[in-house]
Amino acid sequence: MRYMKSRSIDWLPESAQTTAHALAGLDAVVGLIAFGSVARSETTQSSDVDLLAICRESDDLEPTRAVARAVLSSQPVSAISLEVHSIDGLERELLERPSFGTHLRDEGVVLKRSAEFARLDRTISSFDPSPLDLASEMADRLNEMKGLTDPNRMNGRYVVGLARIYSLARALVIADLVRRGERTYDWHELFKRYADIYPDLEGRLSVIESLRPYYDHVHDRVQLSHDQRNIRSSVMDEAVDALRALGDRQMAVLNA
């Protein structure tokens, strides 16, 4: 029987251990997983620790979040990025966002494993979505583009829009790479890899990759200065064009 790899909470960076211990100590939390840069041992200044807490049922979500909020409020703001799911919610997430499932499969490190988590643990460790599942995720995400391509709605305040363009484009790239059987989740590496596949998109991908600081700012990981947040409309237009070019390419891929 195959399970995800596991480690002790003490393996985490010290800044994340208090929160992880608090979550793991809750009876309602049946599984606790670390993933992302910490799991790849590639932490940088703006890296946070990605944690996924899995509760027994949806009624446990709010009490678990309350504990996390209380602990996190006494911690450095940027230290942890936490998702809290119920078992059912995570199963649904794997169906709707299969690239997240492969991410957990390839990089997830289990910090707490109870008997009730065993079935989901096995599901994730052997998770293997079909290309059609991943194409469906791409199509869903392409539908989300429309809310990000009208700068008039942002009226000169573009930081949030640029952050969302970055995260959507990154998700689209990850989904297509996974569909192609590639396992690249590092944000810098995945844009390079995608540009290798589509050299004509290299400039557009470079524009999208350059939006990372806005994403980090919106997620409270870095603080941009006042001047850095006063963005010219041409920057927004260029980002919208880059997202559209990526979307058009992926739409063509899906239609083919």
């Binding site: 949806s58 979500l61 979040r65 909020r69 996190l72 409020s73 703001v77 998702e83 809290v84 799911h85 119920s86 059912d88 919610g89 995570l90 649904r92 997430e93 709707e96 966002r97 989300e144 429309k146 809310g147 990000l148 009208d150 008039n152 709605r153 942002m154 009226n155 000169g156 305040r157 930081v159 949030v160 829009g161 952050a163 969302r164 995260s167 959507l168 806005y214 700012h217 919106v218 997620h219 409270d220 603080q223 006042h226 947040r229």
Partner: protein, 164 residues
């Protein structure tokens, strides 16, 4: 001087259309690019930059702390009560949205769609009416004709109709 744009309410009008067409319901899972989340983020970005002189980009813990501080400053200086109520309503959203996204819990989706958003939009309409009334009193124009007031009131009304 720039001010909140009526165009930001297009996020709400698009969402209302999807609710009316059955493409979305009050139980639809909330994602980061959900139209209501995009509305809340962009509304806050414009409100904070253009009407509070303190730009806030994103719904996160720091944003919640900033909103709390700005509300207390308003309270201390006898500032607009409608704006204080709006900021008070926005504060919890800064911690709740990051928690809601991708949880796929029907209770989260329902609370956000059917409880939080209708009151949020009504508080915006209340503040917008008060704000542009004060501005327009000086110019002897009718606040109810201001595009932001019209859009805010329309959004609040149509959204509540769509979720009820």
């Amino acid at each position: 001087m720039p001010e909140l744009s009526a165009d930001v309410f297009d996020y709400i009008f698009d969402y209302v259309k999807e609710l009316e067409e059955g493409k979305k319901t009050v139980y639809t899972s909330i994602t980061t690019n959900n139209g209501l989340v995009l509305f809340a983020e962009n509304f806050l970005a414009q409100l904070s930059a253009y009407h509070l002189d303190h730009p806030i980009d994103g719904l996160n813990e720091s944003a919640g702390q900033d909103l709390r501080r700005l509300r207390r400053e308003l309270e201390g200086s006898g500032g607009s009560v409608a704006l204080q109520r709006l900021l008070f309503h926005l504060e919890p959203l800064c911690s709740r949205v990051p928690e809601f996204v991708y949880s796929h819990a029907e209770s989260d989706s329902w609370a956000f769609h059917a409880e939080y958003m209708p009151e949020f939009l009504e508080l915006i309409a209340e503040w917008a009416t008060e704000h542009w009334q004060a501005v327009d009193d000086e110019e002897e124009e009718a606040a109810e004709d201001h595009p932001v007031v019209v859009a805010a009131q329309d959004a609040a009304f149509r959204y509540r109709e769509a979720v009820e």
